[in-house]
C-alpha cells in the first residue's frame, strides 16, 4: 500500500522524478529501508496477529473472557478450554475423521496424480492437450453446482456420512492440481535420464519405477502436503455429505460449535488452534516447493 502511495505523487511530476532519482535505484531505496521494514512488520502483524489472539484466547480463563474479552492479556493461563473440548465434546472424533480422511486422500490422490503426471510429462500422445485442459476445467466447476448431484450419487452408493465417500470426492478434486504440481516437477527433470534408462533396456514401467519415482520424491512431498491441506481444510462437501460424528471432520465440527458454544470462546479457539497446527506446520515445512509449484501450476496451465 505504501508503495502505491509513495509512487503516485512522483509519477505526476515525472521531470522531478528524473532529476532527483539517479539511475539504478531500486524500489527499496525509493521507500527507504526503515520504511520497508515497517511495512513488512505491519503486514506480519496483520497476518499473524489474529492467530496470536486465537492462541491467547484459548488459554485465557473463561471468566476473564466473559468480563473483558481480549482487551486484556490473560492474567493467568488456563487449559480448561482444551480439557473441556476433549472431555465434553466429540472433538476427538472430528480429529480422527479429519486425519483418516486427509491421509487416505493423500495416499490415493498421490498414486492417481503421479501416474497422470508421468504420462503427461514423459509421453506424447493424441489427446494430451485435451486431458490437460480437462484437468484445468475440472478445478473451475462451482462446488455448489456439483455438490447437489454428488450428494444424491453418494446416497445411492451408500457413501453418505462415510469417510470413504469423502475420500473419493476429495481425491477427485485434489488430483487435478496435484497432477499439475507433479507434472511441473517432472518437466524439470532431465529427459536424458529416462532416455538413458530406455537405451539400457528398461521397460517404460521399470523406467518409471527405478528412475522417475525416486527422483520425484521432493515433488511428492509438496503435492502430498497440498493434498493434505486441501482435505483437512475442505468445508462445503464435508458439511453436506456428513451428518454424524462417524464422519464429520474438524471444519464441520467447528462450525457446529459456533452455534452450540456461542459464548465459550476459550473452547472454540482451543478447537481452532488444534485445527490450525497440522496444516500450518506441514505448510511451513514445504512452503518453498509448494509456493513455487502453486505459482507455476496456476499460470502455465
Amino acid at each position: 500500500m505504501v508503495v502505491l502511495e509513495r509512487a503516485l505523487p512522483t509519477r505526476a511530476g515525472r521531470s522531478v522524478d528524473r532529476v532527483s532519482v539517479p539511475s539504478g535505484v531500486a524500489l527499496k531505496r525509493l521507500l527507504g529501508r526503515p520504511a520497508l521494514y515497517v511495512v513488512i512488520a505491519l503486514w506480519m502483524v496483520c497476518t499473524l496477529g489474529p492467530y496470536v489472539v486465537m492462541a491467547l484466547t484459548s488459554v485465557t480463563p473463561e471468566s476473564q473472557l466473559v468480563a473483558y474479552g481480549m482487551s486484556r492479556l490473560p492474567s493467568q493461563l488456563s487449559l480448561r478450554g482444551y480439557a473441556e473440548l476433549f472431555s465434553t465434546t466429540p472433538f476427538v472424533h472430528y480429529m480422527v475423521n479429519s486425519a483418516v480422511t486427509a491421509l487416505g486422500t493423500v495416499v490415493f490422490a498421490l498414486v492417481v496424480a503421479s501416474a497422470a503426471a508421468i504420462s503427461l510429462s514423459r509421453f506424447r500422445f493424441r489427446g494430451r492437450t485435451t486431458v490437460l485442459t480437462a484437468l484445468l476445467v475440472a478445478q473451475l466447476f462451482p462446488a455448489v453446482l456439483l455438490v447437489i448431484p454428488l450428494s444424491t450419487m453418494l446416497r445411492s452408493g451408500h457413501l453418505l456420512n462415510s469417510r470413504p465417500g469423502l475420500v473419493l470426492v476429495y481425491v477427485t478434486f485434489a488430483t487435478p492440481f496435484a497432477t499439475y504440481l507433479l507434472k511441473g516437477f517432472l518437466d524439470g527433470l532431465p529427459r536424458e535420464l529416462d532416455e538413458a534408462a530406455t537405451v539400457d533396456g528398461c521397460s517404460p514401467m521399470q523406467m518409471v519405477g527405478h528412475i522417475l519415482v525416486p527422483l520425484l520424491r521432493p515433488g511428492l512431498t509438496a503435492a502430498g502436503t497440498y493434498i493434505f491441506i486441501f482435505s483437512w481444510n475442505e468445508f462445503l462437501y464435508a458439511l453436506t455429505f456428513t451428518s454424524s460424528t462417524a464422519a464429520q471432520t474438524i471444519p464441520v465440527g467447528l462450525q457446529l460449535f459456533i452455534g452450540d458454544y456461542e459464548i465459550r470462546w476459550d473452547l472454540l479457539t482451543a478447537g481452532g488452534v488444534i485445527a490450525a497446527v497440522p496444516v500450518l506446520v506441514g505448510f511451513m515445512l514445504v512452503q518453498k516447493q509448494l509456493i513455487g509449484g502453486l505459482a507455476a501450476g496456476a499460470v502455465k496451465g
Binding site: V21, W43, I148, P204, N233, G272, A295
Partner: protein, 301 residues
C-alpha cells in the same frame, strides 16, 4: 546384437501404448464419474422439482428458472455476488501486487516472511471465519475495543449483524485470506523478470518508475491477468465464509447467488430449484473460464 537393437524400439512402442492409458485411466475415470456426470446431472436436476428427501422427480421444464428470475430477491443476490467478487478480488489485486513488490525486495529473513505471509492460504476457511468472528465480536472483540479506545468509533459495531456492513466485512475477511496467494503468484512472475533488462534500462537513464512501467509491468502482466481471472472464478464460487459468518444475513444482505443455491438446496430442501441457481452461476462463470483457458494456453504456446 543386431536383433536386439531391432527389437528394442518395436517393443518399446508397444509398451508405450499401454502405459499411457493405464496411467491416465484413474484420473479420467474420477473426472468422468465425479465431475462430468454430476455436471450433466445438475443441469438435469435444474429442470426437475426433486427435493432433498428424495421426493418427486418430476420434469418441470423451465419452472425453476422462471420462479428464480421472478423472485424479487434475485436482483439482490446478483448485486451481492458482484459486490462480493469484485470487492474481494479488487482488494486482492491491489494489495497482492503491492505485497509481491515488497516480498521481491532484499531484506533480512525474506524466506521466512514469504512463508509466513502465505499462512492464511493454508488455513481452513471455517477457522478464518471463527478467528474473525471473535476479533469482530460486538461485545468482546479486539477490533471494536481498539477502535473505540483510540476514538475512531463511539460505540462497538456489530460488523456482521448490520445489513450495511455485513457484506463489506465479509469482503475484507476474504481479502485478508486471499491477498497472500495473489502476492505469491505475482512474486513468481517478478522473479522471472530478467535483471539484465532492468539494468540496461537503468543505464539508459530510466528512473525507478519508468523501469517499473516499461519493463516490470509488461513482463508480469500476463500472470497478473491469469491470477485475476482465476481469483474471480474462485471468489465468485466461494461461500464458506458467508455461510459460517452471516448465513447470508441479516435478511438477505450478504446472500450471493451460489449461497442462495446452497441454502435453497439444503435449508429448504429444494434440490431442483437449488440446482437452478447453480446452473445460472455456472453459465455466467463459463465466460470467465473460457477467458482463463485462453490466457493459459496462449502462455504455453
Amino acid at each position: 546384437m543386431t536383433s536386439l537393437t531391432a527389437a528394442g524400439p518395436a517393443r518399446r512402442k508397444r509398451r508405450l501404448d499401454l502405459t499411457v492409458p493405464l496411467f491416465l485411466s484413474p484420473t479420467l475415470l474420477l473426472l468422468l464419474v465425479f465431475v462430468a456426470y454430476p455436471f450433466l446431472r445438475a443441469i438435469w436436476l435444474s429442470f426437475t422439482d426433486t427435493s432433498l428427501l428424495g421426493g418427486t422427480l418430476g420434469f418441470v421444464g423451465l419452472d425453476n428458472f422462471r420462479s428464480l428470475f421472478a423472485d424479487p430477491s434475485f436482483p439482490t443476490y446478483l448485486r451481492n455476488s458482484v459486490a462480493w467478487t469484485v470487492g474481494g478480488v479488487g482488494l486482492q489485486l491491489v494489495f497482492g501486487v503491492a505485497g509481491a513488490l515488497i516480498l521481491n525486495q532484499r531484506f533480512r529473513l525474506r524466506g521466512v516472511v514469504r512463508g509466513l505471509a502465505m499462512i492464511p492460504w493454508a488455513t481452513p476457511s471455517v477457522l478464518v471465519a471463527l478467528i474473525w468472528m471473535w476479533l469482530l465480536d460486538p461485545n468482546h472483540g479486539l477490533v471494536n475495543a481498539v477502535l473505540t479506545r483510540v476514538g475512531l468509533m463511539h460505540s462497538p459495531v456489530a460488523w456482521f449483524g448490520n445489513p450495511h456492513s455485513a457484506l463489506a466485512t465479509l469482503v475484507v475477511v476474504d481479502a485478508w485470506q486471499g491477498i497472500p496467494f495473489f502476492a505469491v503468484m505475482v512474486l513468481a512472475a517478478l522473479q522471472a523478470v530478467p535483471e539484465e533488462l532492468k539494468e540496461s534500462a537503468r543505464t539508459d537513464g530510466c528512473g525507478v518508475l519508468r523501469v517499473f512501467r516499461y519493463i516490470t509491468v509488461p513482463s508480469i502482466l500476463p500472470t497478473v491477468l491469469i491470477t485475476l481471472v482465476l481469483r474471480l472464478i474462485w471468489t465468485a464460487n466461494y461461500i464458506d465464509l458467508a455461510y459460517v459468518l452471516t448465513g447470508g444475513g441479516p435478511g438477505i444482505a450478504s446472500t450471493t447467488v451460489p449461497l442462495q443455491s446452497y441454502l435453497t438446496a439444503y435449508k429448504e430442501g429444494a434440490l431442483g430449484s437449488g440446482a437452478g441457481y447453480a446452473v445460472v452461476q455456472a453459465l455466467v462463470l463459463a465466460v470467465l473460464v473460457a477467458i482463463y483457458i485462453r490466457l493459459t494456453q496462449r502462455r504455453e504456446a
